[in-house]
Symmetry: C2
Subunit: 230 residues, 2 copies
């Protein structure tokens, strides 16, 4: 069948969460093409990415005539449509609820928590707004829950590696570098990160598309106002 | 089969996005029980909600012994496990990518955009941080894209009502009230909101669990610091 052998294109932005799509394809052993975009010197995505998708964000994939953005949508699409349910959990499985919770947790709740954390970290106004403080407390609680979960099972959905790992690793590694999150109170999360980072497919993907790839890409924390006078 | 007739429990917090789970069950015609929690006078969720789930958030559902939080996980769980794929789109359908994009857009990207918008709206620092401004521009762009989409089709996934509507309506109605979003430039979004709000199941659900239900629930914009001296 032609569709099964067609290759998707990954539009990858350096130092961005699009590295997880490369990782997913390496885990699945599926072929892909990449188009690589480099951040503007301000730290923002380059204008060319807006030609791929009107939000100018990454990741985006192309599958034939279909253009798809939004990380979690892309990962669900690849696993359930292109990979026959591989790295996904079946709806009748005992751990389906666990899988869905952790698959959605990264792009949904954790992403919101991390937004507030980034603001607090950049501007040091933890003490200025109780809503920001509320979300920082939520983030601490969430990592407590995650640490407890990982005391019982090696992967978030249970005993097997799934797409939930693919969704959560970037927020707890690359984002954590830039928003001041540390896991000093969370030994099981630290061990989990090591366990997942040791996977051959992860290492291959990071060599190809990871955050330390590409000299000259400015780290996120130096992002500055592209409209300001220089 | 006993499982098919077992009733889920919805832990609903007044004036919160847990109203979407009530709505989903009304759309599906499935039975459910509700436990209702009322916000603390500060605007925050009451401590009792932490006995249901350690993050103290809503919605949460119970299905037998399974407790599940995270809106998007709950909606996916109900549609794919309890409702046999109803209001979901099959992985081999032509509009699967459209469906997944819009299903995930609300809880993922839009939720992040709305967090920054709420901060900007509360504290009026649009002009203080270019990252906040960046996300406000992203939100404007996102609504432009959505408006364009809804010029072509009546529902986000295409010609039929799906779980994508269930995910997005709260952010574009209740949140919009409280963070200063208006759709004056987006006639197709306005018409879409009217079209979806006219659905009998939506009206039933809002009578049961909507934001205007329950006198005495403080509106979100009056949330104040529960730790501050009164």
């Amino acid at each position: 069948v032609e569709e099964a052998t067609a290759m998707i294109t990954i539009y990858h932005l350096g130092l961005s969460q699009s590295d997880r799509v490369v990782w997913l394809m390496e885990e699945l052993g599926l072929p892909y093409e990449m188009e690589v975009f480099v951040r503007h010197e301000s730290g923002y995505a380059p204008r060319e990415l807006f030609d791929v998708h009107p939000l100018g964000r990454a990741p985006v994939i192309r599958d034939g005539k279909t253009i798809l953005a939004e990380s979690s949508a892309i990962v669900e699409y690849i696993c359930t449509r292109l990979a026959g349910g591989c790295l996904w959990v079946a709806a009748d499985a005992d751990n389906y609820a666990d899988f869905l919770y952790w698959f959605h947790f990264g792009p949904s709740s954790l992403s919101t928590m991390a937004s507030f954390r980034m603001i607090a970290h950049r501007q040091n106004y933890e003490n200025q707004d109780h809503i920001v403080r509320h979300w920082l407390r939520q983030m601490d609680l969430a990592f407590d829950i995650m640490d407890k979960r990982l005391a019982d099972v090696p992967y978030l959905a249970g005993h097997e590696f799934t797409a939930a790992e693919v969704m959560i690793l970037y927020p707890i590694t690359t984002w954590a570098r830039y928003n001041g999150t540390d896991f000093s109170r969370h030994p099981n999360i630290r061990a989990y990160i090591e366990r997942v980072e040791a996977r051959p497919a992860y290492r291959r993907a990071m060599d190809i598309a990871g955050p330390d790839r590409g000299a000259g890409i400015p780290p996120v924390y130096t992002m500055h106002d592209p409209e300001a006078a220089s």
